[in-house]
């Protein structure tokens, strides 16, 4: 654990990061910016796993494993989403969420 820093302060920072991500996720119209906000939220959750593991159960390593899995899933998700976005840009030459509605027909 970090000397002089309580778990409450760490969880406060991660909560702020998560809700900044939520704000960006709802306000942004561009698909890539939405993906950036999702990355922000995933990272806040990964820090939560690690901090709670280190502060409450310092002899275990489960939080580290789950953080590694979160990072791996986030990498896979980003690669797929960006490939979909690039393909979408070829079809409709725009990546705004209010223009891309080709699946609705």
């Amino acid at each position: 654990m970090i000397p002089g820093v309580t778990i409450y302060e760490i969880l406060t920072v991660t909560t702020l990061l998560f809700f900044i991500g939520v704000y960006g996720f709802v306000t942004r119209k561009n698909l890539i910016s939405i993906l950036l906000s999702v990355e922000l939220m995933l990272n806040a959750v990964a820090i939560n796993f690690v901090a709670i593991n280190k502060y409450l159960y310092p002899d275990m390593l489960e939080g580290v494993y789950f953080s590694v899995f979160i990072i791996a899933v986030a990498a896979a998700e980003t690669a797929l989403a960006i490939s979909i976005i690039i393909n979408l840009y070829r079809l409709v030459t725009s990546v705004d969420v209010n223009v891309t509605e080709t699946m609705k027909h």
Binding site: T15, T27, S33, L40, A74, S83, I86
Partner: protein
């Protein structure tokens, strides 16, 4: 000393996260997100999980951010600015996020955590590797193998989706 570093890191993370979701130029937003991710890696170093910090730096700063920058350069005109949502929408969403954050913070600060004191056991990378590959009780070999198949499937899927029409029009 660690306390001051933690406060500086959290200030950097929160400020650049806000800058990342409000910036009107998308390339700058990506670079601000890079700063947030590097701050998170510094936090992992501070909490003594060097392995996670290394993963964070290589996968996020080295892989995902480069992927983002490439896709931005492919898709966006570099001078074009993102449209700003209307003031009412920004206020409404900001208020909703504030309410959510305050409810979560209230719950966290009113919950008594049983913090384990005076544990000085250092975390070694070998322990993490043994935990990943152990098939005994509490071992993580099954999700470890599943995640490798997931990464392979995501890679193949990304190639096929990004190649798009050229693959499908042939037959």
């Amino acid at each position: 000393m660690e306390q001051i570093i933690f406060y500086i890191l959290s200030l950097i993370m929160v400020v650049f996260a806000i800058a990342s979701v409000t910036s009107r130029k998308i390339l700058r937003a990506v670079v601000y997100l890079l700063f947030v991710l590097i701050g998170i890696a510094g936090f992992y170093f501070l909490i003594d999980y060097n392995y996670l910090a290394a993963i964070q730096l290589t996968v996020y700063a080295g892989g995902i951010i480069v992927l983002f920058i490439f896709s931005v350069l492919l898709i966006h005109h570099i001078e074009s600015k993102l449209e700003v949502p209307s003031l009412g929408r920004r206020l409404l969403v900001g208020f909703g996020s504030l309410v959510g954050a305050s409810v979560t913070l209230f719950t966290i600060w009113s919950h008594p955590f049983n913090v384990a004191e005076n544990s000085t056991k250092a975390t070694e990378v070998a322990d993490i590797g043994r935990g990943f590959l152990s098939y005994g009780e509490g071992g993580f070999i099954l999700p470890f193998e599943v995640i490798s198949i997931l990464l392979l499937a995501a890679m193949i899927g990304a190639i096929i989706v990004a190649k798009g029409t050229r693959l499908t029009q042939k037959n």
